[in-house]
C-alpha cells in the first residue's frame, strides 16, 4: 500500500518521514524518530504508558496512526525539561518518590501535565480522576498524587524546591 509523507513538529523540532499508513504513532516516535521515552505497555489503549501531547491534547499514541498526526505539534516526555532544568512535575516525581520502576512515569507525567493545564489547583480526587487512564503497577498511586500536588503548588509559585 502507498506510503505517506508526514510532517510533524516534535518537541519543537521538525520531522518529515515516509511511513506506512498502518504504522502506529507510538512506533513512529520510538522507532523512526528515535525518542524512546514514550513507552509501550499494553498496546491496547488501557495503560497510558504511551501518552503524549498532540496539538495540546493528551492522547494514547498506541491508539493513533502516525498519518493522523500529519501536521501536528507533538510533545513527548523528552520535551518537558527546559535547559537542563526538570519541569516542576518531573521534580515532583523526584521529590515525592512518584516512581519505582519508572515504566509508567512518562505517560503519568504527560497526563499530569494535561491535568494541570486544565485545572492548575486540583483536589486529590481530581488528580486521581485526571490520571484515570494511566496504570502504575508499583507505587500504589499515593506518591504519584503527592507528586502532582507538589507540582501544582510549585507551578503556582507557592513552593520552593527542597534542597536534599
Amino acid at each position: 500500500m502507498a506510503n505517506q509523507v508526514i510532517h510533524t513538529a516534535i518537541n519543537g523540532q521538525e520531522h518529515t518521514h515516509e511511513v506506512e499508513p498502518r504504522m502506529l504513532l507510538v512506533h513512529y516516535i520510538r522507532d523512526v524518530v528515535g525518542l524512546t521515552g514514550t513507552h509501550v505497555g499494553c498496546e491496547t489503549s488501557l495503560c497510558g504508558a504511551c501518552t503524549i501531547m498532540v496539538d495540546g491534547q493528551a492522547v494514547k499514541s498506541c491508539t493513533m496512526l502516525a498519518v493522523q498526526a500529519d501536521g501536528a505539534e507533538i510533545m513527548t516526555i523528552e520535551g518537558l525539561a527546559q535547559n537542563g532544568e526538570l519541569h516542576p512535575i518531573q521534580e515532583g516525581f523526584w521529590e515525592c518518590h512518584g516512581l519505582q520502576c519508572g515504566f509508567c512515569t512518562p505517560g503519568m507525567i504527560i497526563a499530569a501535565h494535561q491535568l494541570l493545564q486544565r485545572n492548575p489547583n486540583p483536589s486529590e480526587d481530581e488528580i486521581r480522576h485526571g490520571l484515570d487512564g494511566n496504570l502504575c503497577r508499583c507505587t500504589g498511586y499515593q506518591h504519584i498524587v503527592d507528586a502532582v500536588q507538589y507540582a501544582a503548588e510549585k507551578m503556582q509559585g507557592s513552593r520552593e524546591r527542597k534542597e536534599v
Partner: protein
C-alpha cells in the same frame, strides 16, 4: 499489535469523503477518533482495505445553537462536549454523559459521532441521545436525511446508517426550564464502560410528572427507551412509591445480555435500580 495494511485518505471536504466512500464501497471504513476502530483493527477483527479519515473536514466539528436547539458536529470530541460552557448551560446531561466516558485521553480523541455509529451496547452516548429524542443528520450519495434517535440503533453494533453514508450532525432540542436530566452509570470495574447506564429527562409541573423519557444502555444488545417506565409515571405524583413502581418496568420486554461481567437478571435489576435513582434524584 499492528493493523493490517490499508490505503489512507484524508479528505478535507464532506463531498470528497462521500465520493471516496462510494468508490471504495464495502472495502472502506470511515475513521473519526479511532478509539473504537483502531483497537478493532489492531486485533484484526476489522481489516478494511481503505481508511477515510474524516477528521480533517472542519465543518463537522463543534457545537452551535441555532433556534432553540444545539447542533453538534459528529466529530465533536467527548472532551469538547464535557467542557463546553454552552453545552453545560443548555443541555447539561450531554456534558455529564461525556464526562462518564473512559478516561481523559479517550475523551480527548473519541467523538460523539463515532460512538453513536459504533453502537457498542456498553457505550454511554446512546441512552442520553435516546432520552433527548435527538435527530441524527446523515449525508450520503443521494443527499441528506434525518434519522430519529429511536430509529437509529438497530442491533448489536448496527445502526440505520447505510454503508455509503456519513453521520454529520446531532440535533438536540434545548429542554424547557421545567425539564431536568441526569445520566447515571454503573461502571464496569475493569473497562469503565457502562455495565448499565440510565439517562432520564423529567418534565414536571410542581409535584407531578408531566413527561419522563428514559434511555438505557448496557442491558440489552442495543440501547433502548424504557417506555414502560415512561407511561407508568406520566401524569402521576412524583412520590417515592410511584417512582419505584415505574422504575420496576425499566427492563420490561427486554432481552438482557449475558457475559462474564453480569447475568441477564443482574443487568435487568441494575436498569431498575438506576432508573429509580435517576428519577428520584430529579424529583427531589
Amino acid at each position: 499489535m499492528i493493523p493490517g495494511s490499508f490505503e489512507y485518505f484524508a479528505p478535507t471536504s464532506l463531498n470528497e469523503a462521500l465520493d471516496l466512500l462510494k468508490t471504495h464501497g464495502d472495502d472502506a471504513k470511515v475513521l473519526a477518533g479511532g478509539h473504537s476502530l483502531i483497537p478493532t483493527m489492531k486485533l484484526r477483527l476489522a481489516e478494511p482495505a481503505v481508511i477515510i479519515d474524516i477528521t480533517r473536514i472542519g465543518d463537522l466539528r463543534g457545537v452551535s445553537e441555532p433556534d432553540g436547539k444545539l447542533v453538534i458536529g459528529a466529530l465533536t470530541t467527548h472532551y469538547e462536549l464535557e467542557s463546553s460552557a454552552l453545552v453545560q448551560q443548555k443541555v447539561p446531561i450531554l456534558s455529564q454523559t461525556a464526562a462518564a466516558i473512559g478516561d481523559v485521553q479517550v475523551r480527548n480523541k473519541g467523538t460523539i459521532g463515532g460512538s453513536l455509529v459504533h453502537a457498542d451496547p456498553a457505550a454511554d452516548w446512546p441512552a442520553t441521545i435516546l432520552a433527548l429524542d435527538a435527530d441524527l443528520k446523515v449525508a450520503g450519495p443521494d443527499g441528506e436525511r434525518v434519522i430519529k434517535a429511536t430509529d437509529f440503533f438497530q442491533e448489536l453494533y448496527t445502526t440505520a446508517l447505510e454503508p455509503e453514508e456519513i453521520l454529520t450532525e446531532i440535533h438536540v432540542s434545548i429542554p424547557a426550564a421545567n425539564t431536568k436530566g441526569v445520566y447515571l452509570k454503573q461502571y464496569q470495574a475493569a473497562s469503565g464502560f457502562a455495565l448499565t447506564g440510565v439517562a432520564v429527562l423529567l418534565t414536571r409541573s410542581g409535584d407531578t410528572c408531566q413527561k419522563v423519557a428514559v434511555g438505557v444502555n448496557g442491558v440489552a444488545d442495543v440501547a433502548y427507551r424504557a417506555t414502560g417506565v415512561e407511561s407508568e409515571l406520566a401524569g402521576k405524583t412524583l412520590s417515592a412509591e410511584n417512582i419505584a413502581a415505574a422504575a420496576e418496568k425499566a427492563a420490561d420486554g427486554v432481552d438482557a445480555m449475558e457475559d462474564i461481567h453480569a447475568s441477564p437478571a443482574y443487568r435487568a435489576n441494575l436498569a431498575k435500580v438506576y432508573a429509580q435513582r435517576a428519577i428520584a434524584q430529579l424529583a427531589s
